[in-house]
């Protein structure tokens, strides 16, 4: 199942883990999007980011990915501050497909990692099969449905052979069968030693996948706990209300 995923042992050099957010604040003009986030992402089972719309999940993922800089505080990867690393990959909330066929999108990511041409075709085929898109391999990627594009984006991120994989609501527009398929891939990927950091709105899904949970409200970490702890006995009133299905803003 996870033959395409490479565990930690496959990576030479220094690790990007743990990712440490140290009082990291992100502002856009006068708006504070993330407010003094202190958080450590360690190797192990997936870390699930949950929280209401606009609480800062996507921004936290971009910060952890190194796509944006903290306005104050800092983020370190394995103790280092260099943001650029080929060992992280991500699936955006709204993935952008290159103007090429589905398979060419994956081969592009493989090529960017220096995978040889012959090997590209073989691995792209395996990844497309994995996400259930093999029959659409020659379709222009931008003509795929929203759910198909989301799965293709997951395959493309996996093609980068990451040590840390950020997923921003990767099942948001998927039907139940595809959601289950993606959850299986996430589990297999995590089992193969890849650290998954994933935003989700689906509490059931968070329960099924999470090793630990980071609960965001209005740009702050309201609670961080082991999954078993969080879903059974949340510590904060906000988390209690959120889990009950009450409106948290």
């Amino acid at each position: 199942m996870a033959n395409f995923v490479r565990g930690e042992r496959m990576h030479g050099g220094m690790s990007d883990l743990p990712i440490a957010f140290e009082r990291a604040t992100v502002r856009a003009g006068a708006v504070t999007i993330l407010d003094e986030i202190t958080l450590t992402v360690s190797p192990g089972a997936p870390t699930l980011l949950i929280g209401p719309n606009g609480s800062g999940k996507s921004t936290l993922i971009k910060l952890g990915m190194g796509l944006i800089d903290a306005s104050e505080g800092r983020v370190t990867w394995g103790g280092r501050t260099n943001a650029a690393s080929p060992r992280r990959a991500m699936v955006f909330q709204r993935p952008i497909m290159l103007r090429r066929s589905a398979v060419a999108n994956i081969e592009y990511a493989l090529a960017s990692r220096g995978v040889s041409r012959g090997e590209q075709a073989r691995r792209a085929d395996a990844l497309l099969t994995q996400v259930g898109l093999r029959h659409l391999k020659d379709r222009p990627a931008r003509r795929l449905s929203g759910g198909e594009q989301q799965r293709l984006a997951l395959a493309r991120a996996l093609a980068c052979d990451p040590e840390v994989l950020f997923l921003d609501e990767p099942t948001a527009s998927l039907d139940p069968a595809s959601t289950k398929a993606v959850e299986d891939i996430v589990r297999a990927t995590a089992d193969a030693g890849v650290k998954v950091v994933m935003a989700s709105h689906d509490l059931g899904q968070a329960k099924r996948l999470a090793g630990d949970v980071v609960f965001l409200v209005r740009g702050r970490v309201a609670e961080q706990a082991r999954s078993a702890q969080f879903f059974v006995a949340p510590a904060t009133p906000e988390a209690k209300a959120f889990l009950r299905g009450d409106l948290v803003i």
Partner: protein, 230 residues
């Protein structure tokens, strides 16, 4: 419409003067567009991707230069290439080469400005994904040029249309020498002033047909490519 009738006769009789004029026009304009693209595409990509002081100024000037008057470009190239000019030693004034250089300068702003806009729009869309995939500067340019290839073809067409239709630069730096630097547009101007309206008309019809044919081929290629690549 007797002029029109004899114009058509001329075209279909395979008049060799006519065909050498048409051939030279195509050769000069296509070469000029190719030359301008070699410089204009990288220049457009550079302006789209790299921020430097004065960038907005360069972009505005480039956009304004899309409407350069051909006679002014012709004059400038003439001064450069004339025997006492800085590039006079090349000895290419009144040759097809000089015409290619002049037309290339004329369409360079068109190609660079349109390419910059196209590439910048695509970059806005691709930026986050390509940054997340850690694609370096050279890879970005290659990816954007490749993925924008069908839009960039329209850019080339705009350049070709401009080059094929203009008369000012080729007249000044080519000199309209019979059998050597005479193009369709300079011939039309000459024949009209001489009063040989059938020949002028025939040339005009051929010129317009060629431009339509080139655009038709490009349209077909673009449709085909879009169907395959999205």
């Amino acid at each position: 419409m007797s002029e029109g009738a004899s114009a058509l006769e001329l075209i279909f009789s395979g008049d060799s003067d006519l065909y050498s004029i048409v051939g030279l026009s195509l050769y000069v304009s296509l070469s000029a567009v190719a030359l301008a693209a070699v410089v204009g595409f990288p220049l457009g990509a550079f302006l789209a991707l790299v921020n430097f002081p004065g960038r907005s100024f360069v972009v505005v000037v480039l956009n304004a230069f899309m409407g350069l008057p051909p006679v002014v470009v012709g004059l400038a190239v003439f001064l450069l290439l004339s025997r006492s000019g800085p590039l006079g030693f090349l000895g290419i004034l009144f040759t097809p080469r000089a015409m290619i250089v002049a037309q290339a300068l004329l369409v360079l702003p068109i190609i660079a400005a349109l390419a910059r806009q196209t590439i910048e729009d695509l970059w806005t869309e691709y930026r986050d994904e390509l940054t997340a995939m850690r694609i370096g500067p050279a890879g970005r340019v290659a990816t954007l040029l490749y993925d924008a290839r069908f839009s960039l073809m329209t850019t080339l067409l705009a350049g070709f249309g401009r080059a094929a239709a203009e008369v000012g630069t080729v007249m000044i730096v080519g000199g309209n020498i019979d059998g050597f630097t005479r193009t369709m547009t300079t011939a039309i101007a000459l024949e009209t002033s001489k009063g040989d309206l059938p020949l002028a008309m025939g040339l005009g019809i051929v010129l317009i047909s060629l431009v339509i044919a080139v655009n038709g081929i490009a349209w077909g290629v673009r449709r085909y490519g879009e169907l395959r690549a999205g």
